[in-house]
Symmetry: C2
Subunit: 254 residues, 2 copies
């Protein structure tokens, strides 16, 4: 029963921060979690999980891995679930303690920095994109939705469990980038064409993308060594931030 | 009152197809609609639209443009709205009659083809991306969510009103591409690296992207002259389809 109230509680960011735990919901997310190095604390299972072969298999895997499973009714499951049509499984796991010092940053390393990105779907997609493009890390800066928010976890489709994603304050970022010889570039529609900048890309490069409506914050703008832009057609306001981040990471890949 | 029942009815694809009408909901969508060449049939306004200066301005613009406005209560508005927290304005407009014959396809034209893309958010983002990247058209192929679905309209952020987006069957596509000298390439993880193919890009190129889970359909695969892939890190399953489409369109732009 404690697992049920814990899962409910973890829907709030404050509870996640205090407990160092988060919830991964749905068959796919829990499967990915079990394939990752993260520590799983327990799982909540609704009455319908065993109705599909994949769900039944997942229950077997949970048992094999020695994860404590609490079976609950539909109403209890729904009270802890984040989705409208729950698949009947969620797992509580430990938020990995990732520090910038521990990041592996060889020559050619690329980092994606999220400056006040508010849509959890966009953040999830960008984590998946950064992982797919071999980025060394994704950093959530102030104003960005919590990386361990249920919708971000779902949208990242497992990328969050393997790819080094972490949250930093601006001061923590300042303390970290120069010492590791990471140069910061900002994505901004008024910047120079990225095609021109590609040839000058430094060995270690962080690209910061800004808020969906407001663009880069003053904090990001003030810290960026260079502002780069994608060519877009006249009369079109902007690209979706996850698409823009994807194109930039792809072009700037070493 | 007819406008209220019409707006409710238009939430169903069949009603949209039969009537040749669709709904744009929210302040921004209606503003974009009024800036577009599309014909607006009428607008439904809830009691709170005038509470913001932007909302009040929009009501004034509707009046100036001679659009019939029906004022309704919160409950009535909610019964026609697609969003959970409606902004109190929606407009009914005519679906533009776009034909492939009318498309302007100069040398360098690029088209984005959507093969059974089911998520309306992805389709909306891709319409916005195609418009931003100067694509000549976006074509929704069978199995793709209706372009005039309320969530697609919202996600496209106006792109749907200006950018030539249309739905075609495979037979209609077959009747159109060769006559206009448009070559079809497919996006597929097992294809050749797109970087290698860029130099060979034909004057008129259509890129087809496939379903979120299943990838390209047999129909798309069979028609593609070439399959191209983005380089992604080992161990990562795939990119989000809207991100992949964005990178491909950017790289293949003439």
């Amino acid at each position: 029963v404690r697992l049920l109230s814990l899962a409910r509680d973890l829907r709030r960011r404050r509870a996640r921060d205090r407990q160092g735990l988060f919830v991964a919901e749905g068959v796919r997310a829990v499967e990915e979690l079990l394939r990752s190095p993260l520590t799983v604390v327990g799982a909540l299972v609704g009455p319908h999980l065993d109705a599909t072969p994949r769900g039944a298999q997942l229950r077997a895997t949970l048992a094999e891995r020695g994860v404590a499973v609490l079976d609950v009714g539909d109403r209890e499951f729904a009270s802890a679930a984040d989705t409208d049509t729950p698949q009947g499984v969620l797992a509580v796991a430990e938020v990995p303690r990732r520090t910038p010092e521990a990041l592996d940053l060889p020559a050619g390393a690329r980092l994606l920095l999220l400056d006040a990105i508010q849509d959890p779907g966009n953040v999830g997609t960008m984590l998946r994109t950064a992982a797919a493009m071999g980025a060394a890390a994704t950093v959530a800066l102030p104003g960005t939705v919590d990386l361990w928010n249920a919708k971000v976890v779902r949208g990242a489709m497992g990328a969050l469990f393997q790819h080094p994603a972490l949250s930093l304050t601006w001061e923590e970022l300042d303390a970290f980038l120069p010492g590791r010889e990471v140069v910061l570039w900002g994505a901004d529609a008024r910047g120079e064409p990225v095609e021109r900048a590609v040839a000058d890309a430094p060995p270690r490069l962080a690209v910061v993308v800004g808020n969906e409506g407001a663009g880069l914050s003053a904090e990001a703008r003030g810290r960026a060594d260079r502002l780069v832009a994608l060519r877009i057609a006249p009369g079109v306001e902007s690209l979706n931030v996850a698409v823009a981040a994807g194109v930039l990471l792809y072009l700037l890949r070493a």
